[in-house]
């Protein structure tokens, strides 16, 4: 096992810089070293798998990258430039979007409302004397955009845009959470266990979505426990164990057995 692919770079664009790099990330929870000098990178147009046993620190790394939980030390770089990520707003400013393990959709609202939550389209924007939050919503155009983005993601199973999220299937919800993450000008999409709660056909829907993100030149990071899924969509796979790097595998040059061994034994 001599394929330390950290140096190999991306097969799609061997000469370019990684789009996103996290270097020497440290995060402690009291005495627990959740992340211990962790390194991570992902290219544009690449799907990077992030795998490790329960408690390895995957979610903690995601939260650090998306600014929702700050790390103790370490640096982030986008296209070779160091950036400071200290809030979710910072992260989204740099084009980083996360689909949380727990989705974070409002079940009582319909699809357009969820897609545009916190970022609604309004009418009469020129009426300066009315506070922005009291301007009338542009329901129609939000609904049109919602249909458009569902179409772009080739999500065809949703019958009505006015369906409340609470009445949709797990796969449909996941699609909507992903659509929300990528509708703005995002370049990095982090997916935390996007298929964990899904059945076979719904899992396929979501994995297709992931591949479409790759086609549109996003840098995609996907956490999953399901190695079949990982091998299906990922180009490279970063294995971490107890908060430390084990190895970065190139999918084409490795087998699931190697990954399992890296996850459990660290070799």
């Amino acid at each position: 096992m001599n394929n330390n692919t950290l140096d190999l770079g991306n097969t799609n664009s061997p000469n370019s810089l990684p789009h996103f790099v996290a270097k020497n990330i440290i995060k402690n929870f009291g005495g627990i070293k959740a992340l211990n000098n962790l390194n991570f990178e992902v290219y544009r147009g690449e799907v990077m798998g992030l795998v490790g046993d329960n408690g390895a620190g995957k979610s903690t790394l995601m939260k650090a990258i998306s600014g929702s939980q700050l790390c103790d030390s370490g640096t982030f770089m986008i296209d070779g430039e160091e950036v400071k990520i200290s809030s979710p707003q910072d992260a989204s400013k740099y084009g980083i979007q996360i689909v949380y393990q727990d989705l974070a959709l409002c079940e009582n609202l319909d699809i357009p409302a969820n897609l545009f939550l916190g970022n609604e389209k309004k009418l009469f924007n020129y009426l300066r004397f009315i506070p922005n939050f009291l301007l009338p919503l542009d329901h129609l155009s939000m609904e049109e955009s919602a249909i458009e983005s569902m179409k772009n993601l080739k999500v065809s199973t949703i019958k009505s845009m006015q369906a409340k999220i609470g009445f949709l299937s797990g796969g449909q919800r996941q699609s909507i959470a992903i659509a929300r993450a990528i509708k703005s000008d995002s370049s990095i999409v982090l997916l935390d266990e996007p298929t964990a709660a899904l059945g076979v056909s719904q899992t396929k829907e979501v994995l297709d979505l992931v591949l479409r993100l790759k086609e549109t030149n996003h840098a995609v990071v996907i956490i999953s426990h399901n190695l079949n899924n990982v091998f299906e969509v990922c180009d490279r796979i970063t294995v971490i164990r107890q908060g430390e790097n084990v190895e970065v595998f190139d999918k084409l040059k490795s087998t699931p057995d190697q990954i399992v061994s890296a996850i459990t034994r660290g070799t």
Partner: protein, 384 residues
């Protein structure tokens, strides 16, 4: 059984599902008392029914805003009392020009609401506890303001006129017809724009039922009220405020945020919605509406007394009205318009039972049963 409950939950999500149950309850009550107590359906009785339901309706519309957040405000009755007492002192005792006194008391109500909202939002104490403290404290404050007599008369003609003035019958009718035509026009325009843009439309049946329901209620109520005295200004004020809050809650990003916080506060926070601002302002709105309720009460009774506002009935009827109207106690679902229907259900029930000579004990038990049914529907409609 679970299958059946699921069906109910799904029905409630349909376009008419949210207000059909309360409509059926209302119509059933009207038919029942209409048959058993012919006086019930008389124009005169209807007029008083509307007037009696106005204070509860105002408070119910207000409290709906915080129920949507998944919060509750137990102090609405007491805030209404404090504001009414302030109004009485300012006009009767100090001789302040009534419109100024009204503005001061309304702002005072909003202020009290904002204070409680700020404590709830920043100190993170459950609204139940904070507003319970408010209930007790404001009842005391009301006693202090009212002084040793425990009541102040309100004879100011401007304040009195709010509940004694009615629209001339022709103007009332013209307004109702304009409302109906406008409503129909908006439905048709919306449908045609949506079909032009290839967006899904509600079925003809749903549009027709909506329109028919609205126009029958508007025209019918106006005719009945006109047969007695005409449409009271008070009702007009209540409808205008409800329209405003209904519009804000469904058609602005502020309202959207209220629903989002009620549905999933963490999700709202992650997209950058300020939960503090939403809570403080929503409680401010409730305080304002409570003050309006106080103003209406002062105008109707021509006096402000401790007993009229303090204690349970007003508060419980208002929250009951909102819940009977289909607003969820779990947050994230409901509508201010339904609160008005809920207030009419409670008002009609009380009025009808009064006419049939029922005792207070029966009234309480009936109200309790209806509230229980409403809350059960609410819990059942709540998806897993």
């Amino acid at each position: 059984m679970n299958n059946f409950l699921d069906k109910i939950a799904n029905l409630r999500e349909t376009p008419l599902g949210s207000f059909v149950p309360v409509m059926i309850a209302l119509v059933a009550i009207w038919i029942y008392f209409g048959i058993n107590e012919p006086i019930f359906l008389s124009p005169r009785n209807f007029y008083y029914l509307f007037m009696q339901s106005a204070v509860v309706g105002t408070l119910a519309v207000g409290v709906t805003m915080v129920l949507l957040l998944g919060d509750i405000d137990l102090s609405i009755g007491a805030v209404a009392g404090v504001c009414a007492a302030t109004l009485a002192v300012l006009t009767t005792n100090m001789g302040l020009y009534a419109p100024y006194a009204i503005i001061i008391s309304l702002l005072f109500g909003a202020f009290l609401g904002c204070i409680m909202g700020a404590i709830i939002a920043y100190v993170k104490i459950p609204s139940f506890v904070v507003t319970l403290a408010g209930l007790l404290g404001f009842q005391g404050l009301m006693m202090k303001i009212l002084g040793i007599n425990g009541a102040i008369n309100v004879r100011d003609p401007i304040i009195r006129s709010i509940s004694t003035t009615t629209l001339p019958t022709t103007i009332g009718m013209v307004l109702a017809i304009i409302g109906v035509v406008l409503f129909g026009y908006l439905i048709i325009r919306n449908r045609s724009i949506r079909s032009k843009k290839n967006l899904e439309n509600e079925t003809n049946l749903v549009s027709a039922v909506k329109f028919l329901f609205f126009s029958i209620l508007m025209i019918g109520a106006t005719i009945l009220l006109n047969l007695y005295k005409g449409v009271p200004i008070l009702i007009l004020i209540l409808l205008a405020l409800t329209f405003l809050l209904g519009w804000i809650s469904t058609s602005t990003s502020y309202g959207r945020s209220i629903f989002a916080v009620g549905g999933n506060a963490e999700s709202a926070r992650r997209v950058g919605i300020s939960i503090e601002f939403i809570k403080i302002s929503a409680f401010g709105i409730v305080g304002f509406m409570a003050a309006v309720g106080g103003l209406i009460g002062a105008s109707r009774y021509a006096s402000v007394s401790f007993n009229a506002f303090a204690g349970g009935p007003l508060l419980l009827e208002a929250i009951g009205a909102a819940v009977i109207g289909g607003t969820s106690l779990f947050g994230g679902r409901g509508s201010v318009w339904n609160a008005i229907l809920g207030a009419l259900v409670i008002g009609s029930l009380g009025n009808g039972l009064d006419l049939s000579g029922a005792r207070a004990a029966d009234k309480l038990m009936f109200s309790g049963a209806i509230l229980l049914i409403a809350v059960t529907l609410d819990a059942v409609s709540r998806k897993k």
